[in-house]
């Protein structure tokens, strides 16, 4: 069969900048930092005592209390953001073939919060096993996709995707393939991550991955700044409804953008360090362009992975310059992690939404917290420092890279019938 075009018809988001897509986008375009001191646990003895947490988020405002209690937070945010996207896409359950609607969801870690608490209870007890019957189903990474399908009755392809911080992007790519090659008509995809707890903050601290700028959390996430010192943990979820173009047109759906293509590669180099020349990143952007049938000069904006780590930011920009050459100076580049922090397995979802919104509104969200240029970075590049910039975005690319050396990129473009 002829590969089918894939479009975006629904969006949902729970982010450190707001609990709707509109609030998230308002925060992004206004350069708001979502960072603050950690409220979810006492971090006073930790090297990093701040993160980008969700604000005023109470799952029982969205979910039945009994239902919410059976889910770890990453499943709660998955289900809630998916509900938003499904509502936004105006899907009429009586008019679609539910066998042809899937859910493919990314998460890096899964349900760590309840699991950690239960382990603590057991290992500090007298050895009597009193584990919850929901221990396993709160933990496993696939349960977000399963829960969304159960809630809405979607019986198409259903699984989770894990590639650390590239998870959501890989999920979006898998969803695209399923629709493009006719395995499903519509897929709810995206990713969620809620792991701001003691072992995760402590574990990232131990590997020296996190910023330790405890005297000024709001400026700690500063991608491409000379004094960047690591990433800032974020949490939340992003959801997208993807649909074949024909299916969307048939039901008269509003179309936000077209998902033009994507690709996935590996660095095959080190478990945490990026390839110094950004080899995997280079390949993934080239292959995404090829998959989309586009040229480098078709891209107006790159939402980079840009986590604010000393090595990662340099390697990614080397890769961008290798792929885009002289044209790179004409693009806008920004890292919205400067505002949201790093949403890990959900990053690719919320950052894809940022790209889609930039295409719709003609605004590129900034890389905030820029104070001092890094001489290792080419000053002719436009990093969209500190303030959003208005420009037409015909197409935008989103990069995400995960520990393990995973690279995934997707390209969204303005929908033109």
């Amino acid at each position: 069969m002829q590969p089918r075009r894939v479009v975006v018809t629904g969006l949902g988001a729970l982010t450190p900048l707001g609990n709707t897509v509109a609030d998230y986008w308002h925060g992004l375009t206004n350069g708001v930092s979502g960072a603050d001191f950690i409220k979810q646990f006492d971090a006073s003895k930790f090297k990093t005592r701040f993160a980008c947490e969700l604000k005023n988020f109470d799952p029982t405002n969205y979910l039945d209390k009994k239902e919410a209690r059976k889910m770890d937070p990453f499943t709660q945010t998955a289900v809630i953001s998916a509900d938003q996207a499904i509502l936004d896409a105006k899907i009429d359950a009586t008019k679609i073939n539910a066998d042809r609607v899937g859910v493919i969801w990314g998460t890096g870690v899964g349900g760590m919060i309840n699991y950690s608490n239960e382990l603590k209870e057991f290992y500090t007890g007298d050895g009597t096993p009193r584990f919850s019957p929901f221990l396993i189903t709160r933990l496993i990474t696939d349960i977000a996709a399963g829960s969304i399908s159960i809630r809405h009755g979607f019986r198409g392809p259903n699984f989770s995707v894990a590639s650390a911080c590239a998870s959501a992007t890989n999920a979006i790519i898998e969803a695209m393939y399923n629709i493009r090659y006719g395995k499903a008509d519509m897929i709810v995809t995206g990713g969620s991550e809620n792991v701001i707890n003691e072992p995760c903050v402590g574990g990232f601290n131990a590997m020296k991955a996190l910023s330790e700028r405890n005297d000024d959390p709001k400026t700690a996430s500063r991608p491409f700044d000379l004094d960047r010192d690591g990433f800032v943990m974020g949490e939340g979820a992003g959801a997208l409804v993807l649909e074949s173009l024909d299916h969307a047109l048939e039901r008269g759906a509003k179309i936000y953008a077209e998902l033009a293509g994507g690709a996935a590669t590996a660095d095959a180099y080190h478990i945490t360090a990026p390839h110094p020349e950004g080899l995997g990143a280079r390949n993934v952007m080239s292959q995404a362009l090829l998959d989309a049938g586009m040229q480098a000069s078709d891209i107006d904006y790159i939402n980079v992975h840009g986590t604010s780590t000393p090595l990662g930011d340099i390697a990614e920009i080397k890769a961008v310059q290798h792929v885009f050459g002289e044209y790179a100076y004409q693009m806008n580049i920004s890292s919205t992690k400067s505002m949201t922090g790093h949403l890990l397995g959900a990053a690719g979802a919320v950052e894809s939404i940022a790209v889609i919104m930039s295409i719709i509104d003609g605004i590129v969200p900034p890389t905030i917290n820029h104070f001092t240029d890094d001489p290792a970075l080419d000053p002719r590049l436009n990093f969209t420092f500190n303030t959003a910039q208005h420009r037409e975005v015909r197409a935008g690319l989103s990069n995400t890279f995960g520990f393990g050396g995973h690279n995934a990129s997707v390209i969204f473009k303005k929908f033109v019938p």
Binding site: K66, R130, F131, S132
Partner: protein, 78 residues
């Protein structure tokens, strides 16, 4: 209401997300209070934790209503 009965009631309200008025002695966990098999296992486990006892599986299977739970616990909690 005995102390045990009120503690049992509190656990049921919390875990099953039901209204206090629904938690009558005759109420069946599965038929009246919306519990599935996993919820029922969790309830038994919560009773064990709350009252620091161990309820053998074959006994647990006979506890299907609020009243049965209270009677069992009143007999077995020291």
């Amino acid at each position: 209401m005995s102390d045990i009965a009120s503690r049992v009631k509190k656990i049921i309200i919390d875990k099953l997300g039901v209204d206090e008025a629904e938690v009558t002695p005759e109420a069946s966990f599965t038929n009246d209070l919306g519990a599935d098999s996993l919820d029922t296992v969790e309830l038994i486990m919560e009773f064990e934790k709350e009252f620091n006892i161990s309820i053998p599986d074959e006994q647990a299977e006979t506890i299907t209503t609020v009243g049965q739970a209270v009677v069992y616990l009143e007999e077995h909690v020291k």
